[in-house]
């Protein structure tokens, strides 16, 4: 009886979600963190303030994040870049997953009440990072596996 679950499907999902993070960088590229057309990081932060599901969160974005936009924009950009590269290459996967879990929860909390957003998207994203955190899928098709063999 086969009651074992293979790790490779989760490793494949890890790489796809790594691409998701890298792909999402295109609308928050420095130096202005704005895409050529459409909404940029500043627009999304303003939407989070206007449609805050949690008043305290909206207040934090309004009073702390927006006045220091460049600092936070760099922080978000670099963290998403690190998570994307970590998941895509399978390097330091559990750490990348932990950062990704934080980013996903932050997105979910911030965008929960923004019109047109589907909260399940962020719930799934957070859940996937939880799965990566628990299973460490960088050991298959990833650089974490190379370190282990050596």
């Amino acid at each position: 009886m086969n009651i074992r679950a293979p790790l490779w499907p989760i490793a494949a999902a890890r790489a796809i979600i790594g691409v998701l993070w890298l792909f999402s960088l295109r609308w928050k590229l420095p130096p202005d963190f704005m895409p050529a057309e459409g909404r940029g990081l500043m627009d999304w932060l303003e939407l989070e303030v206007a449609h805050a599901a949690f008043p305290l969160y909206g207040l934090f974005v309004e009073q702390v994040v927006l006045p220091n936009f460049t600092l936070f924009a760099w922080l978000i950009f670099l963290t998403e870049l690190a998570v994307g590269l970590s998941l895509l290459t399978g390097a330091f996967t559990r750490f990348g997953a932990l950062l990704g879990l934080g980013l996903s929860l932050n997105l979910g909390i911030g965008l929960l009440e923004v019109p047109g957003e589907w909260p399940w998207s962020y719930a799934m994203l957070a859940m996937w990072h939880g799965v990566f955190l628990v299973t460490g899928p960088g050991r298959v098709w990833g650089l974490d596996g190379l370190g282990r063999q050596n």
């Binding site: 009886m1 998207s121 799934m124 859940m127 628990v134």
Partner: protein
């Protein structure tokens, strides 16, 4: 005496090797069980999403001929999604008999959701869900919505199916225990 000592040493070495092997097997088993449980979490989440969305769609009248036509009108015109080939296929098939498709969708979505939720015939339910989500991916492609939602859904369904995730916290584990491996392919 010397021979007995060396025999004892060898026995100790073998015992130690066995202990190490046993520890490694337990470690591997724990990891595999963790992976299966991870697959089960994906499966249950997808099941909840499908059943909740099914109920909301039912209330909104989506599973009727008018509801189906309205949905595709929204997708192709207001939302601006769906590649030309996909629109052509939908127009030539589903939109020719929207009432029939509405019934198929009503039953199919509920069965997929329940199958994933309780982990019954999980690979079948998961493949069905993956095809359904991929269909949504095509329908929303190029539109205003965040297309990665449908990538996440499709990947989650595929992984839940490939991991045979109904064997952890699901009814497939009962089938496996009672009937053994399915004879006609991995349907549980």
């Amino acid at each position: 005496m010397g021979q007995m000592d060396s025999g004892n040493e060898r026995n100790n070495e073998i015992r130690e090797e066995n202990e190490n092997l046993k520890a490694q097997l337990i470690d591997m088993g724990q990891r595999e069980s963790r992976m299966q449980q991870a697959g089960a979490i994906l499966r249950i989440t997808l099941g909840v999403i499908l059943v909740v969305t099914w109920y909301k769609n039912l209330q909104d009248g989506i599973y009727t001929a008018d509801g189906i036509v309205g949905l595709f009108n929204y997708l192709f015109n207001d939302n601006g999604g769906g590649p030309a080939f996909y629109q052509a296929i939908i127009s030539a098939t589903i939109l020719q008999a929207p009432g029939l498709f509405a019934v198929f969708q009503l039953v199919g979505e509920l069965l997929m959701g329940l199958g994933l939720l309780v982990g019954l015939f999980t690979p079948l339910a998961a493949v069905g869900a993956a095809l359904f989500f991929f269909n949504l991916f095509l329908a929303y492609l190029g539109g205003n919505e965040w297309i990665w939602t449908y990538v996440l859904l499709t990947v989650s369904a595929l992984v839940a199916g490939l991991a045979q995730s109904g064997r952890a916290w699901g009814l497939d584990s009962l089938l496996l225990r009672r009937l053994g491996e399915p004879p006609g392919g991995p349907i549980w």
